[in-house]
Amino acid sequence: MSTATLQGAVSDRREGLALRLQGIRKSYGHVIAADGIDLEVREGEFFTLLGPSGSGKTTLLRLIAGFERPDSGRIELGGRDVTTLPPNARETNTVFQDYALFPHMSVADNIGYGLKVKGVPRGRRRERVGRALKMVRLEGLEHRRPNQLSGGQRQRVALARAVINEPEVLLLDEPLGALDLKLRQEMQIELKNIQKEVGITFVYVTHDQEEALTMSDRMAVMAGGRLQQIGPPIEVYEQPANEFVAGFIGISNVLDRDGKRLVVRPEKLLLLEESEPAEPGMSVEPGVVEQVVYVGMITRFTVRLDHGELLVAVRQNMHAPGRAQGFEGRRVRLAWSPDHAYVLKTGTTGEEK
């Protein structure tokens, strides 16, 4: 894909919204998959929809692509109302979870299919397919069939097949779900780089919080067909909107103190042995270590506070990691700075069930 043409195309357009959803509702029988969704995604943004399975995130993606029609609400792409348009008339392209590559076509024919349908002449098509192959580093494999490729390679073909059409919004449905951890981490970086290079708006669906946190410009956390919180990863992690978000992203330590509900992230809890003094101004509470788990980079301590809550604290394995094993059953104190205890708004619990 040529960076020049794509960025040209993007900057020509008036700065604005790539996608706008207004009051989207969709239900299947009694199951409400989208319950009044309002969402705006900006041009060139890497936007992630994060949620557990059954939260409605894939339904939302399928509504944007046009595979499903909303019961009510409005979908706009680049300022144009597309609510009633079929998928072939929308400027979106999808990278499917199972890749959905055409098994009877070569890699090059798969990638070039969208252009062929649009009637792009053969010569220009070949040239653009060549560039797309280069972008996803699959040069030399254009004559292979999909079943002759590895999982990671198929994933790249699926990506190239979608990106080559230069859609207004590229939709990705858990595209890395089928890959093993190592490959997934590589592809996360690569996807992000490609997105920056081509400047296309990405709407990315995943249930993997790490993926969401590392790749997104902004993300939305979904549960029960509703958006729980929308914001940049740092905001969502550091200032979760409600207990669901706090619990779904990272480990949440929730405390009830003075009629408030507080969240303190594990890495912000300081584990003090009985003799160690706490810094002035910190909140300190005593407890007993119930479990110590060595996780390589860190050691995870589960501490039962005398107040009753079970909290998780982590410590980097900088010095003498072996010593931590002896902590089980020992009395300790947990200390945290009041700045790091984020107060949850009450009455906004995520799921209604």
């Binding site: 072939n88 055409f102 299919y113 969208g114």
Partner: protein, 272 residues
């Protein structure tokens, strides 16, 4: 293992052994006076089949009929199977399935006789065409009648494998084609048709071979022209020339052997 060995042994003995016997017999001949089989190896039967104009015509006529039946059935089965697999609701699907399979439960002969009643001079077809003011087609006991009946009789064998292949085309591939800009018709042509093709080829094995070997439909429905099966039949029953019948019977076997090889290359066996 034993459970499998028994039917397998049966299959080898009955089916393959009789094929081998057929082949051996085809190289023998009969004594013209006594009509006793003379067990002397010769190629006379094959020479007669290849050089005699009559037999060449019969073979050509049979193959041509089988080819037309196959093409027509494929043309009917494709949209039918497409509707069944991709458009119809679950309920309609079940009803259509029953409609396709039900005729197979009725006797082959019963179905042929009902076609005679439909197609003959004073039959339902002529009568209903005339009653709406159109000329009577009058196709009873003709080549066309045979073509119609063959297509009808073997159609289920084409629909079922085509349907099975189409059912197996993942929904996501069709969505992917739509997503990439293809409309419904284009998607059918570019994605569904090529992926259902092995099923059509698998179905064509049935329609082609069944037509190739049939001798009852030509007798009951046709104008009296002979097909390979009829000549084989008359050589066993009337002329009592079993070696010649055997030689002629190897012709469809050979044709089918070639056909199956081609079908395998087209991936038809994965579709069964």
């Amino acid at each position: 293992m034993l459970l499998l060995a028994l039917p397998l042994g049966w299959f080898v003995v009955i089916y393959l052994a009789s094929l081998v016997l057929l082949l051996i017999t085809s190289f023998w001949s009969i004594d013209a006076f006594t009509t006793e089989i003379v067990q002397v190896w010769n190629l006379d039967n094959f020479q007669t089949i290849l050089t005699n104009e009559t037999y060449r015509t019969i073979i050509f006529r049979t193959v041509w009929m089988a080819a037309r039946v196959t093409l027509i059935d494929a043309a009917i089965a494709f949209p039918f199977a497409y509707f069944m697999a991709r458009v119809a609701s679950r309920r309609t699907q079940t009803l259509l399935f029953a409609a396709v399979l039900l005729p197979l439960w009725a006797s082959y002969l019963a179905r042929l006789y009902s076609w005679i009643l439909i197609l003959n001079h004073s039959g339902v077809l002529n009568w209903s065409m005339q009653s709406i003011g159109l000329p009577a087609p009058n196709i009873g006991y003709s080549e066309t009648a045979m073509l119609v009946v063959f297509c009808y009789i073997w159609l289920p064998f084409m629909i079922i494998p085509t349907y099975a292949a189409m059912e197996r085309v993942p929904e996501s591939l069709i969505e992917a084609a739509h997503d990439l800009g293809a409309r419904g018709w284009r998607t059918t042509l570019d994605v569904v048709l090529p992926l259902a093709m092995p099923g059509v080829v698998a179905g064509s094995i049935f329609t082609f071979s069944l037509t190739l070997g049939d001798y009852i439909t030509p007798i009951l429905i046709g104008p009296g022209t002979s097909f390979i099966g009829n000549v084989v039949y008359s050589n066993i029953g009337i002329a009592n020339n079993v070696p010649f019948a055997a030689a002629l019977a190897t012709v469809p076997v050979a044709i089918m052997a070639v056909y199956l090889l081609v079908a395998r290359r087209l991936g038809a066996f994965e579709a069964l």
